[in-house]
Symmetry: D2
Subunit: 346 residues, 4 copies
């Protein structure tokens, strides 16, 4: 039995972890922490858990949590994972951080984009970036996993086959991403009200979204070439789902067929990445509730540009699902344990 605690269990990411782990027979949910709802039954806060999860939300007691748990999921805003990871490390426990604290290897970049000091550069150095399709082996032995950002996952999986082959012209990449609203969290802002968002569409964070340096760091690693990208997120009136439309120039003349074949080969062995047949383009609802990334790709013969469209469920492959995939790897389980589901369509 794996003993698990979830720090920040009543955000959308946290409660998605509860949904994924709460009925597993090989997992014990120890502590579900929540500052807002401490003392309340989680099934009365979230009625979809009614009759399934009987836990009471608690204030976080870090000593207790690290004593009781084999692995701690941190589903909190950036900055909060640092002291938790430090304590867990001391006690020899695993941490999977769904926030940004262990994603950027350069603390100066972290501090520039997140506007706070990074107090644990030592832990940062040993943390492993938790994208299994990129570095599965390193994950298995890690103590601290930096679970990737949601937009980042959709973009990295969309570009990895080309980056690893060095086919992309540096500076040519444009990532135009569209997200459902759960990515904005369960925060009480006017901008997130139903009445504001419904039947509307907008861009946000133009030219300065915090996922930008994370994408660039990983693309640079994958290609071995310093890579800058243009990234624009947008808000879609739907709860779940991310779709990224990615444009890139490639070196040499490649046909649509050749590029498609590169993608198929790259992901032939992956359970959670599906390259759709030529001419089929993904929609977010197809992967709703699953850990799957679906990808369509072509080359426009008029312009020579590669166009990649990738979709994920932002709470699943973009957050909690990928975190569970990483947990499975950490504990030597089949990577798909508890994640082998079909999307909830329609």
């Amino acid at each position: 039995m794996i003993h698990v605690s979830i720090i920040g269990a009543t955000g959308y990411t946290g409660v998605e972890l509860v949904r994924l782990l709460g009925l597993r027979k090989d997992v014990v949910l120890d502590h579900l922490t929540s500052r807002t709802y401490a003392g309340q039954k989680i099934q009365e806060v979230f009625p979809h858990l009614y009759g399934s999860i009987d836990h009471t939300c608690e204030e976080m007691d870090l000593e207790q949590v690290t004593a009781d748990s084999d692995v701690i999921f941190v589903a909190l805003p950036h900055g909060h994972a640092l002291p938790i990871a430090k304590k867990a490390k001391e006690k020899g426990k695993k941490v999977i951080d769904l926030g940004a604290d262990f994603r950027l290897k350069d603390t100066a970049v972290y501090e520039e984009w997140y506007k706070v000091a990074h107090t644990e550069p030592g832990l940062l150095e040993e943390a492993v970036y938790g994208l299994p399709e990129w570095n599965r082996e390193a994950i298995k032995d890690a103590d601290i996993i930096a679970n990737p950002g949601c937009f980042v996952t959709s973009i990295l999986l969309g570009l990895m086959p080309l980056m690893k082959k060095g086919l992309v012209v540096p500076g040519s990449v444009i990532c135009d991403s569209k997200s459902g609203t759960s990515g904005a969290g369960r925060s009480e802002k006017v901008d997130n009200l139903f009445t504001e968002v419904e039947s509307s569409f907008k861009a946000y964070g133009v030219a300065h979204h915090r996922h930008t340096p994370e994408i660039e760091q990983l693309l640079t690693e994958m290609s071995g070439t310093e890579t800058l990208i243009q990234f624009t997120p947008h808000l879609v009136p739907m709860s779940r789902g991310i779709l990224s439309t990615i444009y890139a120039d490639v070196t040499g003349g490649h046909s649509a067929e050749a590029i498609h074949a590169i993608f198929e080969e790259a992901y032939a062995a992956e359970t959670f990445v599906q390259v759709l047949p030529a001419g089929m383009w993904p929609m977010t609802k197809s992967v709703r509730g699953t850990n799957v990334c679906q990808i369509g790709v072509t080359v426009d013969p008029r312009t020579g540009k590669v166009i990649i469209v990738s979709v994920i469920d932002n709470l699943m492959k973009g957050a909690a699902g990928q975190a569970v995939q990483n947990m499975n790897l950490l504990f030597g389980l089949d990577e798909t344990t508890g994640l082998n589901t079909i999307g909830l369509f329609p």
Copy 2:
């Protein structure tokens, strides 16, 4: 020129008043007050006003507002209209209250349902209930208008033809109402987030919504018989619109045709109430952005019950549109001035 101020101009009701009055050539917008946005340009708070309305939001200065304005619209939570109406009365200015402070004639009922004391019983006595189809003449001479509640409007217009004829069996009325989210206001509550509301439906305020005594007071007035009703509101994943499904037993045996004819006759002279042909049932989007109430009605021959379905735009006929209709009456204008539009479909 009519000089107008809007108290609470940055709630959904307030900003709808701005939309309706801001381009009128016979109206001057004087003061737009907002505690939250005082000092900011309203067109930067609400970009749909960009290029049209150049006002800056202000803190309310009651002396100034009452000095400058011919009529003051109060679009605030209950309790706040009382001191404003008092001051306006002193200065001989008109008040149209879109809140609940002047709707319930019995202060004990007000205090029971709204949990605050009513400090202006004298003003309450002279306030006129602002449903033009019910008491148009009284409105023309009023100083204080109590603009009806949104659910209430949809139900009163749905039942008035039968109540005035005394056809409804007391105690038989069930009002099952469904509202879009703008009725909940622009308040930062988790329950109102897009992510919570989207693709879901729920009831709320079951057996204790505050519109209940208002509906009962008016139905009692209309029928001359003490009337209790059962009222249940529900939340629909849409921004605008209310649909009320109303069930009633009627005295005597009436055919669907006979009841339909009663409705047609009752509203033959009304611009803003449309009785649809038999077999047509209204949908909320047909009246989106308009001051119109559309009604479908039939009798189920199996059960003998009358079933009435009425729809309005909750921000228009349910709030700001009706308030403007009342203003037109107060100032001797054609009742439809500025309200003669076609619904924004689709």
Copy 3:
């Protein structure tokens, strides 16, 4: 291994059965039939099945289907299940009909509401109504299961505790139901277009929806008293979910607590019916993707009326999920096999 065929596998109900059964280790999917998509891979018609279900859609070959299958799910419009059930009966195979052909015991009522003749009155007589919470034992031995209508399920579960105790005043029941759009099927009608439905709400089938006699038949059976009801369905701009608001007068004076206790007791042993604590009211998204019915209930002390709010996922407990529950019973399995999931919220 249970060999299963699905007739009409590419409607929303059919493809939901594929989702529920396709990954089960104790089930073999034999034939997936579809007139529209015969010859096409179902995973290319429905990309949420991509990588999971490799079947090709077929024209129905009734001989083959009945030869190969232990149980046949019929997910077709009414009328089509009759010949299939006849052939299956001859071959000694089970049929679960998700349409209306075996629900109404009186062929005259069937013919009045469905406007076609019922050609298999003999089979009708032995068919069992598939609401496990009502007649679980009869289901276990049935050859033909009439899977209940979606609205019907939400209403029967909402009223059963009171009906069985004979507490409801005949003629007092009003069922105001609201459904997501998947209940209308995957049919190409202008009324079902996104552009028409979005951000709108409407009633339909007022006073003549076909689920009416089915509800009445079952309520009459449960209470032992001839029962007529008033039923009005509405369309909600969401894909999945039904919420029914039910009003009834009860005999004798019952407190909210007493009525609530009757519900809790009635469903104490049921996995798929959850009575929420007093003051909590259900929302459809809490049960999305699950076989659960959540119920809230109270008595309005002002009017004495009982108000019940019940929610289901119309494709699950309202169709495919309940059908699988019935299959589990038919084959001696734990009733919850393959259905023990948590709702997909948000």
Copy 4:
């Protein structure tokens, strides 16, 4: 009085023309044609017109239409405007075609992308492209107006200030556009059903949407340099609205401030194009129901790329609103007649 007929009055574009023109005091609606609904009252087909528009839909009688009308709006699929324009020309009447028949100046390009022959090259030559902000003077004297495509309008207005100054690096332009569903028309396709579209997002027409050559033709005209672009449309779960995110490299080093100033200057005199202050980004709902295009623009200092976000209501500035703007110009009216409204928010 201007006598107007609308060919194809019951599509979304046609009925939007009815909404815009039906209440104007200087316009007479003569013929509203519809093959699907000929003989039916348009207010019973579209209940938002109830009580406002009393016309009956007719089959098109081309002789009659051209005899009676001063201007004919053609709101039909491509190919259908050719014979209408021919006849209108003979009779000396104006035509505003909301389809594609007169947009592409090169018939070979038309035939390549639309797969039909162009039978009226002579008329094509004299047709004027109806984007008033680009060629207002030519519109005033035209007989045939080619009303621009919806995506095209959002992109041309977004790029025009830079193109006219020759600042854009040829080959660098990427147009990532997102549209509401009304752009797909009122056609009965499974892909357009509410149940399919709701809570989902997808790309379509990747690398081969028909608006591509139209965009390129106009950008080439504006810049004087042969211009190819990359264009990808996406479908947003909302009825109305288009947002285009446009990326371009510019020649020379330009600051965000400098580029913003170019936009402000370019549109200073335009009523229907609003350049938002730096840091404000547009959302589609702000322009819902209006003829306005709102634009945000910046330069990313990290990459040097210009990013432009433009929004329109696809049925208004993207179709019917722009057509009315063109009609106003044709008949010497103030360009804003009947279009001077505030967006319906929320």
